[in-house]
């Protein structure tokens, strides 16, 4: 048996497929990320490391550098219970720009939650990272609307330099749903339902003088109940209470959703109309599966947006066509306001149900999005004997095979959410690399 202990948390980066199987190696203590509470847990790993020190004490140098073939390194799929305050940790849900998003369970209320885990170390590497997060927390705390994601709790771990933002639990983003369908679009009535909620949420944000600046399907999440939540206020700006209008000077959102005034690099522009534009692009995307503006590079894209010329497919008929044209007017002054959108023909009339709705795609093959905390609890409460026959072991090679298999599956275009398809070891460092540019097609 191999005698290596390694508890460096960076080892995690080598871990295959985040969350597909949360792997906890008994030899490589890879999952040392959160502090385990509730006792027991790790006795085996301890005994093993004791063996190691015994070997060293004997002083046999040949034992010191023990040759271990990769076949001998084993990983064990095990769900180990971790608690952060009163919350029980679950599996990975996705990765945001600043860190991982995992599922959690409030052990008092049994309510499912999502947690954004922020590492100070990583935050400091992002320009304005710490300030942005502080601003987002302050902002989220002041907001309360059914269509805006709510921040439930904030926890810190000084020792690990981590911050936990505990949010409402959502099952997926509209982006993930769109990507899971063959035509990448919603039936009209479904798009209408989401659009209404988006406008409701935006109206609230604007009433609180908040410009979101990054409205896009990837930032529109759905709860289990199918309620839309505007999320990621990382680049949102609060207009000063004493400002005479909603003038903004900075645009940081996703390129494909930026209005001409930002694409053209104007010094200042009316903020609320930025959100109207990106809502227009999102609606265009919902109903056509395409983007009004595309470009091989960000420069080409901005050039196209800057011209403000686009076409709407012929099958999009009038009240909707007119609404899209109104929301995507090049001149922000002429662009529809939220009030005008509300009064628009298409807004006030629900299109007929024509086809079954696009469902929320499965997460790691689980169509019901079951509580991922449950296996950890089961392991904690019932599976006390590690020697039980049902414990699975994997060797490195088996894992690699599994990874390539999964990659192949994914490339075959199987339904996968945007978030889960990201690889853990390809963790981007800068903020820029993270922001996806959905409008830019690979040339």
């Amino acid at each position: 048996m191999c005698n290596i202990t390694n508890s460096d948390s960076d080892e995690q980066e080598l871990n295959p497929e985040p969350g597909e199987v949360e792997l906890t190696n008994r030899v490589f203590d890879v999952n040392s990320e959160e502090f385990p509470v509730l006792g027991d847990l790790d006795e085996d790993a301890h005994t093993w490391s004791n063996n190691l020190s015994d070997d060293l004490d004997v002083g046999n140098i040949s034992n010191f550098f023990h040759r271990v073939s990769s076949e001998q390194v084993i990983y064990q799929a095990k769900k180990r219970l971790k608690m952060i305050g009163k919350y029980v940790m679950g599996d990975l849900l996705g990765e945001g720009s600043y860190g991982k998003v995992k599922e959690m369970l409030d052990s008092d209320t049994l309510c499912r939650r999502a947690v954004k885990i922020l590492k100070q170390r990583k935050l400091r590497r992002i320009p304005n990272g710490v300030q942005n997060v502080e601003r987002e927390i302050k902002l989220l705390k002041s907001l309360k609307h059914k269509n805006v994601i709510s921040l439930v709790d904030v926890l810190f771990n000084e020792e690990k330099q981590k911050m936990y933002l505990i949010m409402e639990f959502c099952v997926g983003s509209l982006q993930g749903m769109l990507e899971s369908t063959p035509y990448k679009k919603f039936p009209l009535y479904q798009a209408h339902g989401y659009f209404i909620q988006l406008i409701d949420g935006l109206e609230y944000l604007h009433s609180k003088r908040v410009v979101h600046k990054d409205i896009k399907p990837g930032n529109l999440l759905l709860t289990l109940e199918g309620e839309l939540k505007i999320s990621d206020l990382g680049v949102a700006e609060t207009i000063d209470f004493f400002a005479i209008d909603d003038t903004c000077v900075q645009g940081q959102g996703s390129p494909a959703f930026q209005p001409p005034e930002i694409a053209n690099g104007l010094d200042s522009f009316p903020g609320f109309k930025v959100d109207v534009w990106s809502s227009g692009v999102s609606l265009y995307n919902f109903v056509t599966g395409e983007y009004p503006f595309e470009g091989d590079s960000i420069y080409k894209l901005f050039e196209n947006i800057g011209k403000g010329e686009f076409t709407i497919p012929d099958y999009i008929e009038d009240p909707l066509r007119d609404l899209l044209l109104g929301m995507l007017r090049k001149d922000p002054e002429e662009r529809l306001s939220l009030q005008q959108i509300r009064q628009h023909m298409w807004f006030s009339r629900r299109p007929p149900v024509t086809a079954p709705p696009v469902p929320i795609p499965p997460l790691r093959n689980d169509e019901f999005h079951c509580m991922t905390v449950l296996p950890y609890l089961f392991d904690h409460y019932y599976d006390t004997s590690d020697t039980a026959n049902n414990v699975e072991y994997f060797t490195e090679r088996e894992l690699n095979e599994e990874i390539t298999k999964r990659e192949a599956e994914q490339n075959n275009g199987s339904a996968q959410t945007n978030q889960s398809s990201k690889r853990r070891w390809k963790k981007p460092i800068s903020c820029i690399a993270v922001r996806k540019i959905p409008g830019c097609k690979q040339s």
Binding site: C111, L224, E367, H369, C370, M371, L377, Y381
Partner: protein
């Protein structure tokens, strides 16, 4: 028909019956001055409720909408200072939880359980057909009148099955502020996944209620919420404790160190009641019977024989005959309440 005024001065407070809503509401026994009838006034302290104010609102609106002999009736609701007051008829035996706490520590007699159950199922059948799920069926939410009629209360946790004008096949909403009800809730509701839940979730709670009424203890009392969750998810449920279910050795002694009295070991609930609990506590919601199906169960035929619940509850007496109006107590009551309402901690100086 008595007209109950929406004004606190029309009622004379006699005593405090208890608290509810996690101590944020007080239940008073009061006399309607004009008619002389005894009523209960539930007073929600809105200063303390804050975020859950919508629950109070929902409870009042829903309770007033429902017209059923086995659902608690609200005569009138009004605002008095910082309180929302709700006047309802006096339920002289209190809640089933009170009965279990005060006299029936090891559970109610089987016939009493069946009579209460019949009323609860009637109420649930009505609520379900009106398109709502109750979501907090438990002994504490079942009130017994002087005549022995059981009424369902606690409608603040109920949710509509009809959304946007359509009858939903599954509901996904997780009830807010529901910590006190968790032990009675169904696994599918607690699991909070896309499969959702429906009115069968209430039937599971009825199963828990049967166990609670029969055993006296709250289901999963003393068990952590997370363990309660995993137990339910893997299909482990409480049982009716009697000679058929409590394991004993040859000398009729209970195994292990649990303190189960001989009373419990020697009693025997009918097969029908055991079956009823098992039917309700099935993990698969689809095969759980509906409230109206349960009402056709042979166990309820017994009711026609004319058994009277108050007789079964003896020696517990209904409240109105118990109340010896103690004037000192009444005089102190208001003062005590005022002291309780004082938020002393808010006066702390921060140097």
């Amino acid at each position: 028909m008595v007209n109950y005024e929406a004004n606190i001065s029309a009622y004379e407070t006699i005593s405090t019956l208890g608290q509810c809503f996690e101590g944020m509401a007080v239940v008073n026994l009061a006399k309607h001055k004009i008619s002389g009838t005894m009523v209960t006034i539930k007073r929600f302290n809105m200063d303390r409720i804050k975020h859950e104010a919508h629950l109070v609102e929902r409870e009042i609106i829903l309770t007033k909408q429902f017209q059923h002999p086995n659902i608690i009736k609200y005569f009138v609701a009004f605002v008095h200072l910082h309180e929302v007051c709700v006047v309802s008829p006096l339920m002289a035996f209190g809640s089933c939880r009170d009965l279990l706490n005060t006299h029936f520590n090891e559970g109610l007699p089987e016939h009493a359980i069946i009579l209460i159950l019949k009323d609860v199922l009637d109420a649930l059948d009505y609520i379900h057909k009106r398109g709502f799920i109750h979501r907090s069926v438990r002994a504490g939410h079942i009130l017994i009148s002087a005549t022995g009629k059981a009424s369902l209360a606690g409608l603040r946790y109920a949710c509509p099955i009809v959304l946007n004008g359509k009858w939903q096949r599954q509901i996904h909403s997780f009830p807010a502020s529901t910590v006190r009800n968790l032990n009675w809730l169904s696994p599918e509701l607690l699991e909070q996944n896309l499969q959702g839940y429906n009115q069968k979730s209430d039937i599971y709670s009825v199963g828990m209620l049967i166990c609670e009424l029969a055993n006296g203890a709250e289901p999963y009392a003393g068990v952590s919420t997370t363990l309660m969750l995993t137990e339910k998810v893997r299909g482990c449920v409480p049982q009716l404790l009697d000679c058929t279910t409590v394991p004993t050795d040859e000398n009729n002694e209970v195994h292990g160190d649990c303190d189960i009295s001989n009373n419990v070991v020697s009693r025997r609930f009918s097969e029908d009641l055991h079956e009823l609990a098992t039917l309700c506590l099935q993990k698969e919601a689809i095969i759980r019977p509906t409230a109206s199906q349960l009402l056709t169960h042979p166990i309820f035929k017994l009711i026609k024989k004319g058994i009277f619940l108050p007789d079964l509850l003896k020696p517990v007496m209904p409240l109105s005959s118990r109340v010896a109006v103690n004037t000192d107590e009444v005089a102190n009551l208001d003062v005590v309440q005022q002291f309780a309402d004082l938020e002393l901690y808010s006066c702390e100086w921060d140097f």
